[in-house]
Symmetry: C2
Subunit: 468 residues, 2 copies
């Protein structure tokens, strides 16, 4: 059978003789690309090395080396008879699967909850901390991974939380994780493995944890939130053996757990040998008084405390922490090691220095009045323009829940707002077991004061369009 | 019923009037600590606010504020009749559960595999990159999380890998993960959910993936490794629908997959609509020639390529990456979001700049001759002192496998070595289905040349103690 050789003209690879990349590698890349693009078909016979070398002005050795490499990689096959073919499996164009997904234009003013104002991220102070870390961290810290995180950060955070949040943390009971998402997932997995069966969540509450619980093999049930925090009598009836609470500032209602509720919760946990998960996601932002201390401080062996830098510094840091009862330290540390071998060290060491040098306190002192002004602007303008929309919850955090009057629905208001370039979001996704009254959850953390005021004006305009 | 009040002398909290911490907070901390330590019993009646204020030289308002805060937190209970008690649930000393776990002294010279030489971490260049990132990163990058990772790093790595590893990567097909540990776990979960059933792993191979596969709901079977890579005929018989290979430099045997094996592997995958996972964990370190290109470049829709910075920069970075076939991009990105919302941004952006500016190439050019010298020292000294211990595999990577002659066992050699302060480790843990011949896996990446030479001398001494 006679085979026609590929014309070496098809292989006139553009060689850059001034490049640091050796010529044989440039030739390899060129041939590899042509095979991938389907320009060289499967089973095509390659030019003789001598001919190609002549055409390209290369020594034959360079071509031989390139062919050998591509044979070794499986792009080419060396045949008895001294010729070289494109391998049957290698060739063929790869259809581009890039699908152009045009994102829908975001609202011009968006009250979506979640982000703090990342434009205020303390870049200079953070850089000072990381410079110190890079200059001073011993080499072993770059290789050593502990499921609980670096000792430096566990110490700095234990000190900080004991001072500011009234916790009872020891460095050896702390675990650093990649945000609350990873921490809560690992915790629910470990609890399911330890025999826990039913997680109670606040109703309404963040809608994501329920799926995580079910994936971990736990049932999830909703327990109503009253103005004084979780309804512990309903919790008692729920049959849950673990409960997640946002006691210092309930999400999304903004309720603060009363002292009676806190005591009742601990009594419940003691009576049923149950566990409390305290998600202290935004307690750094209480504007009218000192924030309520963490429940964890009252009953460290009954409570897992969870905190995060996502609301105070930036979600992109992916830094979260847990304070664990003694019996959960080993299994959680082991689960973290299996999950990802431990959290990245540089951010941990940087944050440790940042906290220990008081930069974190400084940052929060700077941010509180900013957020308070935004909240006051939002609540004040609402009272002025839409007095029958009633804000609920204490002066805290980065969000506020507004109950809607009976003539308005979340869907109608959201749609009319969106027509005006305004994003507002209903309470409905946060109801767990039973839909309750309709309301809107406003996040204001990443807006400016003029945007907040204009947003309320747009909302009033949208609502008045129904009412006129 | 008459109640005796706690003597206010028991509450003589040391107040620092020059401190930035407000006096009421100092008082709260002091009382909280005493309750926690059990110095104030449950139900103990607190001193009257006026009396305590007088004793401490404070205004009464400060004491009232502190009591109110502690009542709100649940440490104290305010009773009708105007007195305040320690809450029943709050008090009691917390037994310290710190168990002193003295680590066994590590060997003086340790051939344990895994770490690169982190003392060579390019701290100055890394700091230049992070300074640039902190100065130039737009704010939105600190808040925006994509399950696949930052576009900057996906672009930089796609360029790098296509150039150096012969891959066919596009930024939109890349996913950044927290090291191979997370990446492989998520991948096996996604594959199990997509209906894959049986994972073939090389036998011998890294012992950790098997457990991950089983946790994900996959069967795991071993397939023998020959000198030319995985035994594809045995793979055919195994009934596997996904296989994990370390084709460029098999771990731990050091074998390099031949061109025939690579073609056969792709043919197997095509025939069975199966998937290949290519763990390219240390291909940056080939010392005697250009490393073999990645299989992924031959069949991008059949191969998931996995890489890591753990062997080139530092394990503590927790940076890994996958190149995914188009159909796996969406499910993997979604799985990553559920897992931890995405990887931390600063390290990603820093590494992107580091790669794009050529610092990564520079670092590797600097490290290759160092590691090669260590390997040559190890192999050379072994040939001299212990000629019947036969090294296997190509000149590459950070480890070498040495077969033991029939008169020696891994256990006996390891123990005798440890008596001499030397850590050497057997091959046994790496066998998957059937134990094979005995051998030792030497990691040399984090040792110095004198330590390597002395280590071999100690090993010779240990072995000669059996033979004399």
């Amino acid at each position: 059978m006679s085979r026609s050789r590929t014309n070496s003209g098809e292989l006139l690879v553009e060689l850059r003789r001034d490049s640091a990349v050796p010529l044989h590698q440039q030739l390899e890349s060129g041939i590899r690309d042509r095979i991938r693009q389907g320009l060289l078909r499967a089973d095509a016979v390659m030019p003789a090395t001598r001919a190609l070398a002549t055409d390209l002005g290369l020594s034959r050795g360079v071509v031989v080396e390139a062919y050998q490499q591509l044979v070794a990689e499986g792009y080419l096959v060396s045949r008895t008879g001294g010729y070289t073919q494109v391998a049957p499996s290698a060739a063929g164009p790869q259809a581009s699967k890039v699908t152009a997904r045009e994102p829908g234009g975001p609202p011009r003013i968006d009250f979506k909850y979640s982000k703090p104002d990342v434009s205020q991220f303390p870049r200079a102070a953070w850089l000072r901390s990381i410079r110190k870390v890079l200059n001073e961290t011993p080499n072993r810290s770059l290789a050593y991974l502990d499921g609980r995180g670096t000792p430096e950060l566990r110490e700095a955070l234990a000190d900080y939380l004991n001072r500011v949040r009234g916790t009872s943390a020891r460095p050896e009971n702390m675990l650093i994780c990649n945000g609350f998402a990873q921490g809560s997932r690992l915790l629910l997995q470990v609890l399911a493995a330890a025999g826990y069966r039913r997680l109670a969540v606040e109703d309404p509450s963040d809608d994501e944890l329920r799926g995580v619980a079910v994936n971990a093999g736990l049932e999830a049930v909703g327990v109503p939130v009253l103005e004084t925090g979780l309804d512990v009598e309903a919790l008692e009836r729920s049959g849950a053996d673990v409960v997640l609470v946002t006691a210092a500032h309930q999400f999304p209602t903004g309720a603060v757990a009363s002292a009676a509720m806190r005591s009742a919760l601990i009594a419940w946990a003691t009576k049923h040998d149950a566990l409390i998960i305290e998600d202290d996601y935004d307690a750094e932002y209480r504007y009218d008084r000192e924030p309520i201390g963490a429940i964890q401080g009252l009953a460290p062996e009954r409570v897992v405390y969870a905190g995060t830098a996502s609301k105070t510094l930036a979600p992109g840091l992916r830094l979260g922490w847990l304070i664990l009862p003694g019996r959960l330290v080993e299994p959680m540390s082991a689960a973290k090691v299996v999950d990802d071998r431990g959290s990245p060290v540089f951010d941990q060491l940087t944050f440790a220095d940042f906290v220990a040098r008081g930069e974190f306190d400084r940052h929060l002192r700077r941010m509180r009045p900013r957020y308070r002004r935004l909240r006051d602007a939002l609540v004040g303008r609402l009272a002025e323009r839409l007095p029958d929309l009633v804000p609920t919850g204490v002066s805290a955090g980065l969000h506020v829940l507004i109950w809607l009057p009976p003539d308005l629905t979340e869907a109608a208001v959201s749609n009319a707002a969106l027509d005006r370039g305004l994003g507002v979001y209903g309470l409905t996704p946060y109801w767990v077991d039973h839909p309750g009254p309709e309301g809107l959850v406003f996040g204001y953390g990443s807006l400016t004061e003029p945007a907040v005021l204009e947003g309320v004006d747009l909302l009033a305009d949208a609502i008045n369009s129904f009412r006129s």
